[in-house]
């Protein structure tokens, strides 16, 4: 053992073993004493400490993992992995129509005021209504189909006196027919093939002829052939066909052509004279979600059938003969028709596989790759912060310890002031401030390093000051003074290097603490932000109990990496302390 080898550092070991002549050495010959440099001694003591060596190994592994790992990883830090999956997307919507739709006859008008009065009359259960100067009459052909007629007054009757509205006088035949009708309590009568209607307006009774104005109906028409849309939506066709449907007839004639009707549940199909499908009438409206798509009537028909049969699924055979499955989701009165569409999906929370060793995270990014980049950030933050701490600590502590007196007192009070700022409240407020200012993630890391360094340099300053206070009284400092060396040189060239061993020990042990602090901030969501990663921010997802429970691979590896790294720094710090401090030797 040569524990005291450093005392003999002026004696150089001579390497003359290579010589041929074996030289006789005396027992007290200086060359027999194997001399080691102080650094070598520390190193020897260090590697004798098993824990320290293990810690050093862990740290080497961590550095290799964080800084060399990305070279071998085939993925990027923010690379998002997507896959094709099937997703039910809204394709069309269907609704039971409960609104009357109006078709106005050619050359007639049926204004919104008329419509309002019509609805009002419908609600009051009266068959006549008027708006402005016009009086209307409507006929309920069947449920949801109303034929609206305008009345053209022919004559007015007031207490048996007839007043003609058109022409010179009121024909006797009309008067007679009217009186008969009144006696029989009829509201309409026919004369010479013309229908007259009796409408009482206050004291006056009007006798009017009528003509068709509009059709109000709930069922909607869908054309099988887009070219027929104009014909189908024309007033006349609607009138003829809806009358036929209302009367449950299976054929009708329109424009000299024969049409036949086939009735299904809730919908009727109109075939033209050649027996081809012509139009469909139903109270269910089907519209595509994407307006650019034309929904074929067959599809609408399938939807209506499915809705009437209360089915939640149906198949529709497309033009190319492919059968596609659709599902129907009912929300109140509307039906959403969903189609299973292949969609590009982000593969979130994918379990570990050979492709992604630790799976994918909540953003579809590779967890193991992010751990590597996160390790870079965590380790870098640790080193930069400790560097800031040591730099400020050496300057303040060095000046304070060397000069003493009022400089020392004032600087130490300054240290006290800094020391009084409570760490966690301060760092939390700072995190919130950065959140509020929306600092970009990279700048945020640098600001975080600065603040962590500024909040924790006081410990280092105290250590440096304490050491220098005792060192400056030693002889070698007297020698530097006698040699006339500049003050700054004396402090930083002669005093500070003597403090270095202790500083290295403190810094190594402190690194672990900083990494934990940074990770804790990341965990609370106040540290490093997405898309950048740090070990703490990777664990952050586990604050969601669902993720914590179901996806262990999201947070346990990151936690273990932090634990191992900090443990490594603590082992090495401990080993260094033991190696530098001979008092603690065995």
């Amino acid at each position: 053992m040569s524990e005291f080898g450093n005392i003999n550092h002026n004696i150089k070991p001579e390497l003359n073993i290579t010589g041929n002549e074996p030289e006789e050495l005396n027992l007290d010959d200086a060359r027999r004493v194997k001399v080691l440099s102080p650094g070598m001694l520390v190193f020897k003591r260090f590697i004798r400490n098993k824990l320290a060596v293990v810690g050093f190994g862990i740290l080497l592994f961590m550095f290799a993992f964080a800084f060399l790992g990305p070279l071998f990883s085939s993925y990027g830090q923010t690379q998002v992995f997507k896959g094709v999956g099937s997703m039910a997307k809204d394709f069309a919507g269907a609704i039971y129509n409960d609104e009357l739709r109006y078709t106005v006859a050619d050359g007639e008008t049926f204004s919104s005021g008329d419509r309002a009065q019509f609805l009002f009359a419908l609600g009051k259960n009266t068959n006549t209504f008027s708006y402005g100067d016009d009086t209307y009459y409507f006929v309920s052909e069947s449920e949801g189909i109303y034929r609206i007629l305008q009345l053209d007054p022919v004559a007015e009757v007031l207490r048996g006196i007839y007043k003609p509205m058109t022409g010179e006088n009121v024909p006797k035949a009309l008067q007679k027919a009217y009186e008969t009708a009144v006696q029989q309590d009829l509201t309409a009568f026919e004369l010479n093939g013309v229908t007259y209607r009796i409408v009482t307006k206050g004291k006056v009774t009007q006798i009017s002829t009528e003509h068709d104005v509009a059709l109000a109906m709930i069922p909607v028409y869908d054309a099988y052939n887009p070219a027929d849309i104009d014909k189908i939506s024309s007033y006349k066709f609607k009138l003829v066909s809806s009358l036929a449907i209302s009367n449950n007839e299976d054929k009708f004639v329109f424009d000299g052509q024969n049409y036949s009707i086939q009735y299904d549940d809730g919908q009727s199909t109109i075939f033209d004279s050649k027996g081809a499908e012509f139009a469909q009438v139903s109270a269910i409206i089907v519209n595509p979600i994407d307006q650019s798509i034309f929904l074929p009537v067959d599809f609408k028909s399938s939807v209506r059938e499915a809705i009437n049969d209360r089915q939640s699924k149906f198949n529709y055979i497309e033009d190319n003969g492919e059968s596609v499955a659709y599902s129907i989701v009912r929300v109140n009165n509307t039906f959403n028709i969903k189609k299973e569409t292949p969609t590009e999906l982000i593969r979130v929370f994918e379990a570990p596989s050979s492709e992604h060793i630790l799976g994918l995270d909540n953003n579809g990014m590779d967890v193991s790759t992010r751990l590597m980049y996160g390790g870079q950030v965590s380790l870098l933050v640790g080193f930069v912060v400790i560097f800031i701490e040591v730099a400020i600590g050496i300057v303040i502590g060095g000046i304070s310890g060397y000069f003493g007196g009022w400089v020392d007192t004032s600087l130490m009070r300054f240290v006290d002031l800094f020391n009084s700022i409570p760490f966690w409240p301060m760092i939390l407020i700072f995190g919130s401030v950065m959140d509020a200012l929306e600092v970009n993630p990279t700048q945020r890391i640098f600001l975080l390093m600065m603040v962590l360094g500024l909040l924790s340099w006081t410990g280092v300053a105290r250590i440096v000051r304490g050491q220098i206070l005792s060192l400056r009284e030693l002889d070698f400092m007297v020698a530097t003074e006698a040699a006339g060396i500049r003050t700054s040189r004396r402090i930083f060239k002669h005093l500070v290097p003597n403090v270095m061993p202790l500083l290295i020990v403190t810094a190594t042990a402190g690194l672990g603490g900083i990494i934990i602090t940074e990770a804790t901030l990341g965990f609370l969501g106040l540290g490093v932000k997405y898309p950048l990663a740090s070990w703490g921010s990777i664990i952050n997802v586990s604050s969601d109990a669902y993720v914590m429970t179901n996806f262990w691979f999201m947070w346990i590896p990151a936690g273990l990496l932090i634990l191992l790294t900090v443990l490594g720094f603590n082992f090495v710090g401990d080993g260094l302390r033991d190696a530098y401090d001979p008092k603690m030797k065995r």
Partner: protein, 329 residues
């Protein structure tokens, strides 16, 4: 001696005020502060007759935010000296009242943790020192360093994963169970105690390592001293040597180490309480700080600063009592 104490108290006071001022300055820098949020809410209220800016101006006046940082701080300080810390913005009740509601949960948790910690770490530390470099020593050292190296939040998450989710023994969050209100007084106390198990275990694991290593180091120092050699040479039993001669001498540094734990005891465990959502001072102040509740955050920060200063002053006075040279300087 009296002069020293007066000087030290005066210094502590100045430092406290400075610390509070720094916190105040930083918290005022929060741009989307609590007041702006409230002003936005009120301005969007259909019944509101004022614009956002008018609300903001009015609220700023009410909350005394319309003045600069320095006058604002002086105003706050003036009220604080008279014991008026204002009303918490986030909780809507006076700060001191909220503090009284929550502080005791934290103190209870900390005291129990402290007692458990002492009973675990001191015996283990002594054991490790007695058998230095044995397998036991290595095991204890590794255990202690593991405790120090384990981030609190990771340990807490692991514990929750294992004991709350896998085994279902404890609730994930909170201080009281679901049927708390229908329980008798005794059952309520048991319920709260049951919910404190995991937080206390977490805190204990995080702090036990430090005390253990401190005990070991001090014990080693004492065991290497001459009077222990003398005691052994006298032929005293090993037990007597350790318990009567060695341990009593390690008590001095241990007690001074523990005196630093007093501020920690009242400032609460911010991280652990937040993770387990224990409504102690730590969790409550975390909520207040992150939401920009200036009165509560200021109160909490000042409280910690003053506690720290008091513990430092006590330590300094103790040193001064022991060492006359300190008094002279």
């Amino acid at each position: 001696m009296r002069n020293f104490i007066i000087r030290r108290l005066f210094l502590g006071l100045i430092i406290s005020v400075f610390g509070a001022m720094v916190i105040y300055a930083v918290i005022r820098a929060l741009p989307t502060s609590y007041v702006e949020t409230i002003a936005r809410q009120r301005a969007t209220n259909p019944l509101s007759t004022k614009t956002y800016q008018e609300w903001l101006d009015q609220l700023n006046q009410v909350y005394k935010l319309d003045v600069g940082v320095v006058p604002g701080f002086i105003g706050w300080l003036g009220n604080a000296v008279r014991g008026d810390f204002g009303e918490s913005w986030h909780f809507g009740i006076p700060v001191t009242q909220k503090f009284n509601q929550v502080i005791w949960y934290s103190v209870i948790i900390q005291i129990i943790t402290f007692i458990v910690e002492i009973f675990i770490s001191i015996p283990l530390g002594i054991l490790a020192a007695r058998k230095q470099y044995s397998k036991t020593d290595y095991a204890i050292t590794v255990f202690a360093l593991m405790g120090i190296s384990l981030p609190t939040f990771f340990l807490a998450t692991l514990l929750k994963y294992q004991f709350s989710i896998k085994l279902g023994w404890f609730d994930l969050y909170g201080l009281t169970g679901r049927f708390y209100n229908s329980m008798t007084r005794f059952e309520q106390i048991v319920d709260i105690g049951y919910h404190m198990v995991l937080p206390i275990f977490t805190l204990m694991m995080a702090s036990v390592g430090g005390l253990m290593r401190y005990t070991r180091t001090n014990m080693l120092e004492v065991l290497n001293s001459d009077y222990i050699r003398t005691a052994r040479a006298k032929g005293l039993s090993e037990r007597a040597v350790i318990n009567k001669h060695a341990f009593r001498n390690t008590l001095i540094p241990l007690v001074s180490y523990m005196s630093y734990l007093i501020p920690a005891m009242f400032s609460g465990a911010l991280i652990t309480e937040t993770l387990f959502q224990i409504p102690g001072i730590g969790y409550v102040s975390f909520q207040a700080i992150t939401r920009g509740d200036i009165p509560f955050a200021m109160f909490y920060a000042t409280f910690i600063i003053i506690l720290t200063q008091i513990s430092l002053i006590i330590a300094d006075i103790m040193y001064a009592v022991v060492d006359p040279r300190v008094r002279a300087n």
